[in-house]
Symmetry: C2
Subunit: 445 residues, 2 copies
């Protein structure tokens, strides 16, 4: 019997196995899919992800940060594409060194699995899909018919977690649970590299085509390509309102993209093929509690808190989960019940906060970046960050301050935002503001 | 094939079957339990319920209101029992004729089933527990192995609805769902009648022993007895904090009741036996959406929106569901998809509102009725209602205004409450207030 059984060798599970191996535990990781290092597979997940400070901090502890950043593409700001094709860069921060990094999901996952398997006390078993969990006995059941117990079971089996479903379906009395969905879905599309791997859009930016009721984004890949994601309503309320349910013909797709994203269309030679070949994904938020059953099992990562991607924090939050968890293992060893209780108490408010901020940021990215008051506010914040080393916007607190809990970033950030939006609604020219006065008012929050 | 299959012959299902029978539909009702008219059974549900205007309005349409009220005990206000044994009546309304009615759940359910079976086009089948629902085919599966289809299926199978679970477990894409629980549970206890069926507490009141962190209530039954319900935390945070997990010995129970509810203990001869014989119930809120799948199925009542009992609106809301639904059948006939869509659109905001108000009222009943500002506020509201025929407190809007949607009662009521609490926090003597001025300020809300 291994001392820890991890369900799922995705990003969170693979990183967790490294952390636990370093603490000397025998770790078995059971993964539903095949080994992505041997088989090419469509993961059904986003191709690239934004790695930022919380995620980097967790990788650093196991010596993986520099390795990963070597293959990442830094993104220093949001490049806003207007309908007329004009672009404007809104930096993420007024400070140099504060940027996010586009990384390959598969590349990162493979690197983590390779690292994990360097430890003799880690074993990853593939093609074992967990389908049920006996919450009383702490026993996981797999589609193969195999069952498995361990000193404890940690479920990193993602948003559709079988362990969480067992907790929900009677395994845990008074289990708090919610799932909610945006009216919008998403579809991934592709911009290939230019000649000899050149980038056909500005390389070091996260590109956004904000169109109020919908938007497209594009993140650079290391090979010079970009992965685009269209966020659009599933269903149309009216004939004028674009939605996935209206884009059913090649002509409709082409016409929609040429009208809305004219500057991108020439860069997307496989647009129509991609549009019909790739699935339309859903955007959901899942919250639940408690995450653990005594010392028998614990949910970590998306299994405990699936969030929408609009703050670029899904992976970063899950990696932070692992780092916080490890600190508690350092403190309490394998007294799992104590570790799990402390972890839930410490972490729940923070994962709720990032879940809420991620939904709010959808509206910000879609609507607000096209709003002049918001653009002025970002300008002001950039100036504030350039001028005052100790001023951090909400975005910066979430993205670049791994020392700050998400819940603090949310509360303080919302108060700052309200004040700055008010200030910027009253002036057309941000440079005319008395910056010291603004700083003083912010410090009173 | 019946034109309508109803899952569950509880209060909502039985009333719905009458409404549909009157519209000429062939109705089959499949009920999980045996026939309560033939077998004595512990329903695992509360023994009595507060029937108020929304419920009465729905009964009136099928001619059942006067019959039911003949066996009800009117409750004109909350009788507050202080720790020192003093009592004080807080009327529910300043107007005569505005009171709530304690009715027997079983008695009402039996009356509704009897009425339903007067219609030749209604058939109630007992001991058929629905365990699954094929959301694509619209087919219900029962524990007996039987399966059943119909023109449409309406699920009134309560908070644990099997139909809703099937919708949740993949039957409906992007199904919105939440379940949340209070830290408090409940336990039913008993005060028997006095000599020759006399009432040992004031008959025409809902009795409350508010003790801030917990409370007991008692509702009169037609036979002179009272059903008491203790609402108490499941788990204790500290040694001083009473909770169910601390009341594990007869001595502890007796000591707790004698300390907290001294005036009630002499009336409860079977207190200790009841305490250990009766289960401790959970208090949960369930919300979900959509409630329907095309025209194939619809959730009505607790299956769609389980709420906590603190506004006395669970049954009243479900009965109002049925009345609203019937109005849409009148308009659209058996175009079920249209009826179901319109029903969801019309009703969801209102059931969310009463769900939220019911949770809020728990804190009001437990904490606020022991708060002098709140007591003054109730006093002021009573005076306002006595003086102004068109003034209604939030409680009155919810309870006595079946013409007013719950969502309106919530919004307007909260604004009124905030203003009146502010006014009452600034005076010790409500009778010194300028009533016309208060009325004027209220009318500006």
């Amino acid at each position: 019997m291994p001392s820890v059984l991890i369900i799922g060798a995705g990003l969170a599970g693979s990183l967790l196995s490294i952390y636990l191996a370093r603490r000397g535990f025998d770790v078995n990781v059971f993964e539903a899919r095949g080994d992505m290092r041997r088989e090419s597979m469509s993961a059904g997940r986003s191709i690239n992800l934004a790695l930022s400070d919380r995620g980097i901090a967790a990788l650093r502890e196991v010596g993986m940060d520099e390795y990963m950043l070597a293959e990442a593409v830094p993104m220093t700001g949001r490049m806003i594409h207007s309908p007329d094709g004009q672009t404007r860069l809104l930096p993420y921060s007024g400070r140099s060194g504060e940027y996010i990094n586009s990384v390959s999901r598969a590349g990162l996952n493979i690197a983590l699995m390779n690292e994990a398997e360097k430890y003799p006390n880690v074993q990853i078993v593939f093609n074992e899909r967990c389908v049920d969990f006996d919450t009383k006995r702490g026993e996981a059941a797999f589609a193969s018919g195999r069952t498995m117990r361990a000193g404890t079971v940690i479920a990193t089996d993602g948003a559709g977690s079988a362990v969480r479903k067992a907790m929900m379906n009677g395994g845990v009395e008074r289990f708090e649970f919610s799932q909610s969905w945006l009216d919008h879905g998403y579809k991934e599309l592709h911009i290939p590299p230019g000649d000899s791997g050149s980038f056909l859009l500005e390389k070091n930016a996260l590109h956004i085509w904000p169109r109020r009721r919908f938007m497209m984004i594009a993140l650079p890949n290391f090979d010079g390509s970009f992965t685009c994601t269209l966020f659009l309503a599933h269903k149309s309320d009216s004939a004028e309102e674009p939605a996935f349910d209206q884009l059913t013909s090649e002509d409709a797709v082409r016409e929609f993209f040429e009208r809305e994203f004219a500057d991108a269309v020439p860069l997307m030679p496989t647009l129509v093929e991609d549009f019909f070949a790739n699935p339309t994904g859903n955007l959901g938020t899942i919250k639940c509690f408690p995450w653990s059953i005594g010392g028998r099992s614990l949910l970590i990562g998306d299994s405990a808190h699936a969030i929408v991607p609009f703050y670029g924090q899904g992976m970063n939050c899950s990696f932070e989960d692992v780092r916080v968890f490890d600190q508690l293992v350092e403190e309490h060893g394998d007294d799992w019940e104590t570790v799990f209780d402390a972890y839930g108490t410490l972490r729940k408010g923070n994962t709720d906060a990032i879940a809420d901020m991620a939904v709010e940021n959808f509206y910000e990215m879609r609507d607000a970046v096209a709003d002049p008051v918001f653009v002025r506010k970002r300008e002001l914040e950039t100036t504030l960050e350039q001028t005052y080393a100790d001023y951090f916007s909400k975005y910066s607190m979430v993205t670049f301050r791994e020392d700050l809990p998400y819940s603090v970033a949310k509360e303080k950030g919302n108060a700052q935002d309200a004040l700055l939006m008010e200030i910027c609604s009253k002036t057309e020219d941000v440079s005319s503001l008395d910056l010291a006065d603004v700083r003083e008012r912010l410090s009173q929050i």
